[in-house]
């Protein structure tokens, strides 16, 4: 087991290295000078050269990369061009807000997805299966940013039950788990949960149908095993894969939260990313994407390790 974990960790390092190179190069594939957005158009040549020196853009690319990695490993993601504040500080608050939203959405999606998937797989080809499969295909097909708008139209504009945007009266700085704040979380979390719901439901349906068609189930049934006993077998066999899918979905939601956060003006990493793009704040863009991508890499590693621990059949070492 330990050998497997170490091997898997070792395999992750080159991927993490590649991800860092891609994030680093993002700034350099961007057209134009990265400083054009901060400097006034009539800035003197001297000022431009000084700024370039301050930000380190005058050094060779490979040196810039080396210095950038060194700084990043020390937790220094540079300074936002637009606000002049450290990127790491901006990210910390935003990351907390996105995590809260994504974890809640993943949990809702996982519970509903398991329910629909299980019903569909257990009563295969019945009308219940068709209904559950239809709901799950809607989940994977709906443009979630549009679903968010529709929910705002229904629950905020028409019914006036829930707030349309934001994270509460004090932005997200004074977040507390009371109704005043939590009501802001409901619509974005429900909207976001639709994606994992659809994917988990489809996975669980296939898993359950596959497990039920195996001979050991028929054998156990012939020996008099009750439905509740069959249920236990199905859960035990399906759980590792379903949990792995859930873990990866959390990673996708964290990375893909920008669309939903834009719809609901939720002050998370996606919102930050949107700001970074439109103010052409490249250090902020680079830092946010690096952190989110590294989070995803780490989550992939964690999911693999946990799945190997839960499921003795997965012997990859």
């Amino acid at each position: 087991m330990l050998v497997y974990v170490l091997k898997r960790l070792f395999y992750t390092l080159p991927v993490a290295f590649g991800v860092s190179v891609v994030c680093f190069l993002l700034v350099h594939i961007a057209p134009g000078d990265p400083l054009t957005s901060v400097l006034p158009p009539d800035a003197s040549a001297q000022l431009q050269a000084d700024m370039r020196k301050i930000y380190g853009f005058d050094r060779p690319l490979i040196v810039q990369y080396g210095l950038w990695v060194l700084k990043t490993l020390q937790g220094d993601l540079g300074v936002s061009i637009a606000t002049g504040r450290p990127v790491a500080a901006e990210l910390r608050l935003a990351l907390g807000n996105t995590l809260m939203l994504a974890v809640l959405a993943t949990l809702i999606g996982f519970v509903l997805g398991c329910l629909f998937g299980f019903v569909a797989g257990y009563f295969r080809d019945s009308w219940l299966d068709k209904l559950a499969s239809f709901v799950s295909i809607i989940g994977v097909s709906v443009p979630h940013y549009w679903l968010g708008m529709v929910l705002v139209i229904i629950f905020s504009v028409q019914l006036n039950w829930l707030p349309a945007t934001g994270a509460g009266p004090g932005g997200s700085a004074d977040w507390a788990w009371d109704w005043v704040h939590v009501r802001h979380l409901i619509l974005p979390a429900v909207t976001m949960s639709v994606i994992p719901m659809g994917i988990v439901a489809r996975t669980v349906r296939a898993l359950v149908a596959d497990i039920l068609s195996q001979e050991f189930i028929t054998g156990q049934r012939a020996k008099g095993l009750l439905d509740s006993g069959v249920f236990r077998h199905v859960v035990k066999n399906a759980a590792p894969t379903a949990l792995a899918v859930m873990g990866l979905q959390l990673g996708y939601l964290l990375g893909g939260s920008i669309l939903i956060e834009t719809v609901f003006s939720w002050p998370g990493t996606g919102f930050l990313l949107g700001q970074a793009i439109f103010q052409r704040d490249l250090p902020l863009l680079q830092g946010t994407i690096l952190v989110l991508a590294m989070f995803f890499v780490a989550l992939n590693l964690l999911v693999d390790v946990v799945q190997t621990m839960l499921d003795p059949r997965v012997q990859r070492a």
Binding site: A30, V150, V157, I277
Partner: protein, 293 residues
């Protein structure tokens, strides 16, 4: 010609080929056929937009902004600049379909080429190609698309480029795994032993066996691509105003949800209908080919 009569016999089922069998099973799937009809309707709408669209998609009048659905002369209302919604939704099919389908189409060729090369040659080539693919796979797809088009800037070409890069890794991965499996089958070994060149083996023996699964997988990506492409325009990346594109229309109408909520929601419904149709068709194709997801 005799070949014509041979084909009729084949489709009647005495000795159906693999693909005609797939098509026949697909034809018996009412859901998939309905989805196909919807997609065809969307494509026709895009192609003949100037003939069907009742008005000019770019010209608006400030006096008739944000009219509700069912206004005489404007059956689906007007947008925030007083342009006819029905016309813009019809024209929107052009850019939305183009931006959604093209990346998967190009990525299908590039990804297949990378994956088949890696899978067939194995060894160091495989390691170099697939580890590079892994790096891009290590990004959540939405994040990668937004990172690339965010850095490159808005525009149709940049949007297409970013989305193509997003869809190459998953396709390359599938292509690599099916090719690796096919390479180990004995007749491929036999062909190699009898002295066939690598290119001939790939063309004659490998391609026919791997292209089906890769194709089905790629069709499943189209709905994701449509949602992502419109999503980019929704964020202000991708297509720029005043072009009619569903995601961009959704974006510019966002502030109108307090005035004409259902008019504002219409472009999203178009994305949804198209995306679910592609998903249902892809599912039908998968079960017609008897492939496991």
């Amino acid at each position: 010609m005799s070949s014509a009569s041979f084909e009729t016999i084949a489709t009647e089922g005495t000795s159906p080929g693999y693909w005609s069998g797939v098509l026949r099973r697909l034809g018996r799937d009412p859901v998939a056929m309905f989805a196909l009809l919807v997609i065809l309707a969307m494509v026709l709408m895009a192609v003949f937009a100037p003939l069907i669209g009742p008005a000019d998609p770019y010209r608006g009048q400030m006096l008739r902004r944000l009219r509700p659905i069912g206004t005489p002369g404007f059956p689906l209302g007007t947008d925030e600049l007083g342009r006819d919604m029905l016309t813009r939704l019809i024209y929107g099919a052009r850019l939305s379909l183009l931006m959604g389908v093209t990346p998967v189409f190009i990525a299908f060729f590039i990804g297949s080429a990378i994956g088949i090369t890696a899978g067939y040659l194995g060894g160091k080539v495989n390691t170099v190609l697939m580890r590079t693919v892994d790096v891009f796979f290590a990004f959540p797809s939405v994040l990668l698309a937004i990172a690339l088009s965010g850095a490159l800037g808005a525009g149709i070409f940049n949007g297409l480029l970013s989305l193509t890069i997003v869809f190459i890794p998953p396709i390359a991965r599938i292509a690599e795994s099916v090719t690796t499996a096919v390479r180990k089958i004995e007749y491929v070994e036999a062909a190699r032993a009898s002295g066939a060149s690598a290119l001939t083996i790939v063309r004659v023996h490998v391609l026919g066996n791997v292209i089906g699964p890769i194709f089905v997988y790629a069709t499943g990506l189209i709905s994701v691509s449509l949602i992502l492409a419109s999503g980019l325009s929704f964020l202000g990346l991708g297509v720029k105003p005043p072009e009619p594109e569903w995601g961009l229309m959704l974006n510019t109408l966002r502030n109108a949800i307090y005035v004409q909520p259902w008019v504002a929601a219409l472009p999203g419904a178009m994305i949804f209908i198209t995306s679910i149709s592609f998903n249902l068709l892809s599912d039908g194709l998968r079960s017609a080919m008897d492939l496991k997801s």
